[in-house]
């Protein structure tokens, strides 16, 4: 009896579903959804949900330990505070040090990558050597450099070998006019190897025949770099610049570990951390985080536009911009016409 009922039911609705599920299209959909659900769920739980909470916090006056029902809603007050206080945006000025550092770092990485992508003795050895710092944890690097910069320790000793007098050397971390540069140097040392490896990867994909052809035409190494390598790896250059600059806006590890953010080295992140964890102004710190996010968005968009402008020039060297647009338009029109034809057929 029960069996027949089950059978009847099976024959009605689920039957169609099973059939659909077995069909090629059904299989495609099911697999797509199944594969999407897990990463999306993880992404939502661990990224968007906490982010949403943080945005919510930024409208409240609260501590971490304040129970949810005692948090006081203050509207835009925290955001106004971020702009009113001079320590928040003052700290962003320090990011300029890191931006300059990032540009030096990219130039250095690009230079070394170009050299190493040609045949060099011990090339792989050097690549490994320069990539190595990236593998050390940021905290460990912090401790290494704390001692590196201490008076009379590593850096001073090496400079003394080179003939400098100890009395003429600055105090690398005490002197407020150079301590930020000391920290930036640490950051450059850590990341340039990684940038270099990315660049080498991109340069490898350039067709070797192009170099030969260029050499036959009498191009020197610099011209090869300027007209072959650079245009071929522009995507990766753009990406690295954007990542480095957003990274320098949110510099944290070096100042936090090496100087504890004291002595004029407190970057935006360090100040934010101090406000959130010492003064327990979680709302204000959250607002700072949201403001930084917007600044990073703005910077990224500006950089995108900037690179679009730069590389538009590079791409339109053999045909004028207008000519190119006209050609693209024509191509599009042709494509549309073809589609229309198919539709009729």
């Amino acid at each position: 009896m029960a069996a027949t009922v089950a059978k009847v039911k099976k024959e009605k609705k689920p039957f169609h579903f099973m059939q659909w599920a077995k069909s090629r299209k059904g299989q495609q959909v099911i697999i797509c959804v199944a594969f999407m659900v897990i990463p999306l769920l993880l992404l939502f739980t661990f990224t968007y949900l906490p982010f949403g909470e943080m945005v919510k916090f930024s409208f409240y006056d609260m501590k971490y330990s304040t129970p949810a029902d005692k948090r006081e809603f203050v509207g835009w007050e925290n955001y106004l505070d971020v702009f009113r206080r001079d320590d928040c945006f003052g700290a962003l000025k320090l990011s300029l040090y890191y931006v300059v550092g990032a540009l030096i770092q990219l130039a250095l990485a690009l230079y070394l990558a170009t050299i190493l992508s040609f045949k060099v003795k011990g090339g792989n050895f050097f690549k490994g050597l320069m990539f190595f710092p990236y593998l050390i944890s940021g905290i460990a690097i912090g401790f290494i450099f704390k001692f590196f910069y201490t008076r009379g320790f590593v850096l001073d000793t090496v400079l003394q070998w080179l003939g400098f007098e100890l009395e003429n050397l600055p105090y690398w971390l005490r002197d407020q006019s150079i301590n930020n540069w000391s920290l930036v140097a640490t950051s450059v040392w850590r990341y340039f190897g990684q940038n270099m490896v990315l660049f080498i990867g991109a340069i490898m994909s350039v067709d070797a025949e192009l170099y030969e052809a260029a050499e036959l035409d009498g191009a020197n190494k610099f011209q090869q770099f300027r007209y072959i390598i650079l245009p071929s790896i522009k995507t990766i250059v753009t990406l690295n610049v954007i990542l480095s600059i957003t990274g320098s806006l949110s510099a944290f590890e070096q100042p936090y570990v090496i100087t504890d953010g004291a002595n004029g080295t407190g970057t935006y992140f360090v100040i934010m951390n101090e406000l959130a964890h010492t003064s327990q102004k979680v709302g204000l710190a959250s607002a700072m985080a949201v403001v930084l996010l917007l600044i990073i968005f703005a910077c990224t968009i500006l950089q995108k536009l900037f690179f679009k402008y730069i590389f538009r020039d590079a791409a339109s060297e053999d045909e004028s911009y207008k000519a190119k647009r006209a050609r693209l338009k024509a191509e599009k029109a042709a494509l549309r016409a073809e589609k229309a034809k198919k539709g009729v057929a």
Binding site: K63, Y64, Y171, N179, D260, A262, S279
Partner: protein, 480 residues
Amino acid sequence: MKLKKVLAVTLIAAMTAGMAACGNTTNSSQTGTTTNNAADDAVAATESGDAAAGASGSLSYADITLGEDYTDLTTTITLFNHRTDLQSADYNGTTWDEYLAAFNEMYPNITVEITTDTNYADDALMHLQSGDYETIMMIPAVDKADLSNYFLSYGDLETMQGEINYATTWEYGGQVYGVPSTATTQGIVYNKKVFEEAGVTELPTTPDEFIAALQAIKDNTDAIPLYTNYAAGWTMGAWDAYIGSNATGDNTYMNQKLVHTANPFQDYGDDTHAYAVYKVLYDAVANGLTEEDYSTTDWEGCKGMINNGEIGCMVLGSWAYPQMEAAGENAADIGYMPFPITIDGVQYASAGADYSYGINVNASDDEKAAAMVFVKWMTEESGFSYNEDGLPVDADSTETKLSFEGVTFLEDEPAVAGEEDLLNQMNSESELNINAGGDAKIQAIIEHAFNGTMTYDEIMDEWNQSWSDAQEALGVEVTQ
């Protein structure tokens, strides 16, 4: 095709099972322990014959008789604390392992697992916020109103005051939530030999005498007169501990009066109050009486340096005293003196609880009982406070290695009822974070003193301004 499908299904099943397993194991183990506990509880209650504590479920510190109650209790408890040094076999004093061995002689069935952390103050808060924390914790900086959410009460204040000193430290609503591990006082740890060599025979009792002593050390010895420990950060925040009883001779100043005081950082003109405390630091740095590169000071290194006579003195609580003694071969050279502020001819020193043991309120009954037994044992039997050169915590004991002749000890009074969290709120609002991790503001004193970017009075004016703004924002009545 079939095979692939089977494979995919198995894989998914395995993954789900794996995920479910994570949840399941903890669940089952938890239920496991609770049932065990219930059984143990019954055993403990009947066998130890302590009906008051076991059966009724209301655990009380005062009612526990060590060595008699709960001797059959079998359970495992965890203890999270900041004493990383006690976990190292090289420690010159008694290590955690030695304490636990002694404890297990009396209570062989209670296993205590100890975790220590160098970044305790922050990480402990993180543990509490996660909701999953150790059975016994050293209570970090939580609001007193939240104490009962996290910790178990040891008993009411009146009873506890008969048992321990400093019972008011973590008291809220008449209940005591923390038993101090040890008690410390505030003064200056110094190297006797260096002071002798410098020709300082009488210990300084006023800021001027102190600066003169530092100058003498600079002139007559190779030692660094005052080591700031700037880079470590928290060592700077330690200066806040001196602005209460030490600088005012008033044990209600810190927790009751400060929040109501108008411009507490003003110059009172008689070398007292907070102004005089921080001025010692400013003047020492401005006159070059500190280490030459403050940005790279090394906390671990300074212990050996003061022991060897490379440092004259450091402003640290008495808890640091045994560490300095243990850091080298010259333990006898290390001394501890009161902070050089004299109020009407008397020097005061605030004595207060160090980190206090709090017991997880969400632990099982068995764990709670075991934890309370352990805390009581640590206080009364272990000799921890004496070994660590602290002041006695057990109310019946007067044993201590500290000698502070002619100094009046004051125990800070707690905040008045209803204002328990006001100081916390003021700290947060003003961002001065007095005695609450406000390291940056004191680091700034050194920076300004060294670079000459701000005068001392300008700094104090700024702090007064922050304090007044916070009082206004929170609507605090200014009466002093």
